[in-house]
């Protein structure tokens, strides 16, 4: 079972972690895509993905990891990833994560620039600019933006802490090109 292979927990603690940090890591692209990409090192960013939702056992370890690693609290409300039940525990779980959209509606909807799209396509959230209007929450169709106790959005930073604490291989971090996709 993998455990904290991808992310150094120390790193997550440090405020220096930026959302969707641009990486030059080897992209996980199929050969054809590789060809199409720029001849030089392709610029990529990391994105959280629900690779195998049907493998989820509903342990909520990912939600606790997200709150713990990002905010140092024990909380379900502070988690950017959400594991929902559909028809109770007998039904299938639905794991809701931010898709890291290339043309992010949350940023488009935000009237103050608190949800800001950066050149590489990622969205960074500036708490100080947020007026708590809820426009981003409404704009995100997948339901990835929720409001925490402070009435401010909880936004995924694609750090991968949840991936490292999922015992069942449901989640993964993928590398996507900063353009297209």
């Amino acid at each position: 079972m993998r455990f904290l292979q991808g992310v150094d927990p120390e790193m997550i603690e440090s405020p220096a972690v930026e959302e969707n940090k641009e990486t030059e890591a080897k992209p996980v692209l199929r050969p054809a895509e590789k060809e199409a990409a720029t001849p030089a090192k392709p610029r990529t960013r990391r994105r959280l993905k629900v690779a195998h939702p049907e493998r989820c056992i509903g342990c909520l370890s990912c939600m606790f990891a997200c709150s713990r690693m990002r905010t140092g609290t024990v909380s379900l409300q502070n988690s950017a990833i959400k594991v929902q039940t559909q028809g109770g525990i007998e039904g299938d779980f639905r794991v809701v994560v931010c898709r890291g959209c290339q043309d992010p509606p949350c940023a488009r909807a935000c009237p103050t620039g608190a949800m800001e799209k950066r050149p590489n396509g990622s969205v960074v959230f500036h708490k100080d600019r947020c007026i708590g209007c809820g426009s981003c929450e409404k704009a995100c169709l997948v339901g990835a933006v929720t409001f925490g106790k402070e009435k401010k959005p909880i936004k995924c930073i694609h750090c991968g802490a949840c991936v490292d604490f999922c015992p069942h291989g449901v989640l993964m971090l993928e590398e996507i090109p900063t353009s297209g996709g």
Binding site: M1, F3, L4, P9, E13, I57, G58, C59, L60, S61, F64, S67, R68, M69, G72, T73, V74, S75, L76, Q77, N78, K82, V83, Q84, T85, G87, G88, I89, E90, K149, F165, P167, H168
Partner: protein, 578 residues
């Protein structure tokens, strides 16, 4: 972290919160706090099914905060044994209690009409449940799910018709697949006209030192998922023991007439996993996923029309409703588990009651007049299904007696020699040797999990052990489990929570304890429980051991009454009870 008790009075339709810092400081939480609250709330000789009898739920300081600290303990006076009632359940309940901000809940009184309790953070409502009274436990969950808030973070606990009918071993179903199974909490719910309790919360907990918290959490998490301390529960699950115990001659079969089951292979954990297992689930906060769910597919016409039931299974129900009833096909076992789930019966007690009745019918102590022509015979799954339904409906005196437990029924109809209960509680699935028998006799709630005598026996099979050492092990477990159950961790994670890890994790939530403190706490909790037991009439010098235990060979060979007597004597002496 404020440590509060929520009080709910069903008679007065009131609720209030009290800060009980001192209580939690002295008794930690979980079962420690539970037994103290029971002593406060339950005067001597209270009728367990009266308004004066309380229900207490409690969790400990680590629940929701550390991995595999997933259980809630229910403390009450047992309508089955007439003394200490204590039962543990997982699911999402401890998490919901934590985030609703209540480390303990005390329920008093009796509702005037069928009701359910809805707790949403600090808001407590007692609501009308008239329209769902009589509905099975599963459907009750389905209905309340649509009515109550808190999707994904709430817990719904409820009773079925057995609890309503006050069957003395009715359980409470927790989040569909987990249970407060043992000792009749369901009947206590029923007596209070309490159909269900739904709880959810949104609190966030700040730990004093987030960095240290992450460190300790990571260590425990890693131990749980990476090392093999929990591997058994992760793979085949507890049902892996069917094959193991069958081979050791420790698997109770046909009401303990045998200790190995010729058809054992058909109902082994491997067989279930291979042919029926389709999904595994976890209690919230546990990365293991030990809850094994089987799909039971049955045709209901000749036109390829099927109904599919999702049934959770474990070792204990496979023993009690499988080998113990001579049921030699996995489908049969699953059908009987499903019936118990819907009615809301404890599977262990139900199985043992039926196995006694089967033998009593065979031996002519009862006739088809008593059974109302229901054929009770080994492997007779349909007959057993009807009998289970009957003991809830109690259409005659006989089924009414069955609903009161095997001790009661056998006292009425004879056959005590093979009425398989210890301390009034129907026994669990281990005929492993003397430590299992003595362990269940002396245990605070007469459960195999009080001190794991079955594990002591299995150790002794591998490497012979003096009986004094066996007794020492039982005492050690009795005490240390008192501590662990105050936390309230899942017993499967005992290996994760070493003394050192317990001390470190407590420290991260601001509770400083030494090894000696913990040992002393364990002993104190045990003593308080015994105080309650003795007050309610339990007398260890006058306990009944069904003769059958001495007649059927166990994993440790034939057990003699002398060995059991000697161990009991030693136990009493070591406890300082003369």
């Amino acid at each position: 972290m404020l440590r509060k008790v929520l009080y709910i009075d069903l008679s007065k339709e009131e609720s209030w919160v009290e800060e009980r810092q001192e209580l939690f400081e002295r008794w930690m939480g979980g079962t420690g706090v539970g037994i103290r609250l029971l002593q406060e709330e339950c005067p001597a000789n209270t009728d367990p099914l009266s308004a004066a009898a309380p229900i207490i739920f409690s969790i400990g300081p680590l629940n929701g905060i550390f991995p595999v600290a997933t259980k809630t303990v229910a403390t009450f006076k047992s309508p089955l044994t007439g003394e200490l009632g204590e039962s543990y359940a997982g699911g999402r309940l401890s998490l919901a209690l934590r985030f609703a901000g209540h480390e303990a809940v005390v329920i008093r009184g009796q509702a005037e009409q069928p009701s359910y309790i809805s707790i949403n953070d600090g808001e407590v409502k007692i609501k009308d449940a008239t329209s769902i009274w009589g509905i099975d436990a599963q459907t009750t969950g389905v209905i309340l799910r649509d009515r109550e808030p808190g999707v994904g973070r709430r817990s719904i606990i409820r009773i079925g018709p057995a609890g309503e009918a006050k069957v003395r071993y009715a359980g409470v179903v927790v989040d569909t697949y987990r249970h407060f199974g043992r000792l009749g909490l369901g009947a206590v719910f029923g007596s209070k006209r309490l159909k269900a309790l739904v709880i959810s919360g949104t609190e966030t907990i700040d730990v004093p030192d987030a960095k240290r918290y992450k460190e300790v959490y990571n260590r425990l998490y890693k131990t749980a998922v990476q090392t093999d301390v929990m591997e058994k529960y992760h793979d085949i699950g507890t049902s892996v023991n069917i094959s193991a115990l069958n081979w050791l001659k420790g698997l109770p079969t046909n009401n303990f007439l045998l200790s190995s089951f010729p058809q054992g292979e058909n109902i082994s954990g491997e067989m279930f996993a291979e042919n029926h297992l389709f999904r595994r689930l976890s209690c919230a906060g546990c990365p293991i996923g030990c809850v094994h769910i089987a799909a039971l597919k049955t045709a209901f016409s000749t036109h390829h029309e099927f109904e599919v039931k999702k049934v959770s299974y474990d070792y204990e129900p496979i023993y009690s409703l499988g080998s113990n009833l001579g049921v030699g096909q996995a489908e049969g076992v699953l059908q009987l588990i499903d019936v118990c789930e819907r009615l809301g019966l404890d599977v262990m007690s139900a199985g043992v009651v039926l196995s006694w009745a089967t033998e009593a019918l065979e031996k002519g102590l009862i006739t088809s007049k008593e059974t109302l022509d229901v054929p009770l015979q080994w492997n007779g799954v349909d007959g057993y299904t009807r009998a289970l339904e009957n003991l809830v409906k109690a259409p005659n005196e006989f089924y009414g007696a069955l609903a009161r437990g095997v001790d009661y029924a056998a006292k009425k109809y004879c056959g005590l020699d093979y009425a398989m209960a210890l301390g009034g509680n129907e026994v669990s699935g281990y005929h492993t040797g003397p430590a299992s028998i003595v362990g269940q006799l002396v245990g605070v709630r007469h459960s195999h999990l009080d001190n794991a005598g079955y594990a002591v026996d299995q150790k002794a099979v591998k490497k012979p052990m003096e009986i004094e050492m066996m007794v020492d092990e039982l005492i050690k477990e009795d005490n240390s489990r008192g501590v662990f159950n105050s936390l309230v961790g899942c017993l499967f994670a005992r290996g994760v929570y070493t003394e050192e890890n317990i001390i470190d994790s407590l420290e991260t939530v601001g509770i400083i304890k030494t090894k000696d403190d913990l040992m002393e706490l364990g002993k104190r909790i045990f003593e308080e429980k015994y105080k309650f037991k003795v007050q309610e009439g339990f007398d260890l010098s006058n306990v009944r051991v069904p003769r059958r235990f001495y007649e059927t060979v166990s994993a440790a060979g034939l057990v003699t009454p002398e060995t059991v007597e000697e161990m009991l004597g030693l136990y009493r002496k070591k406890r300082g009870w003369g």
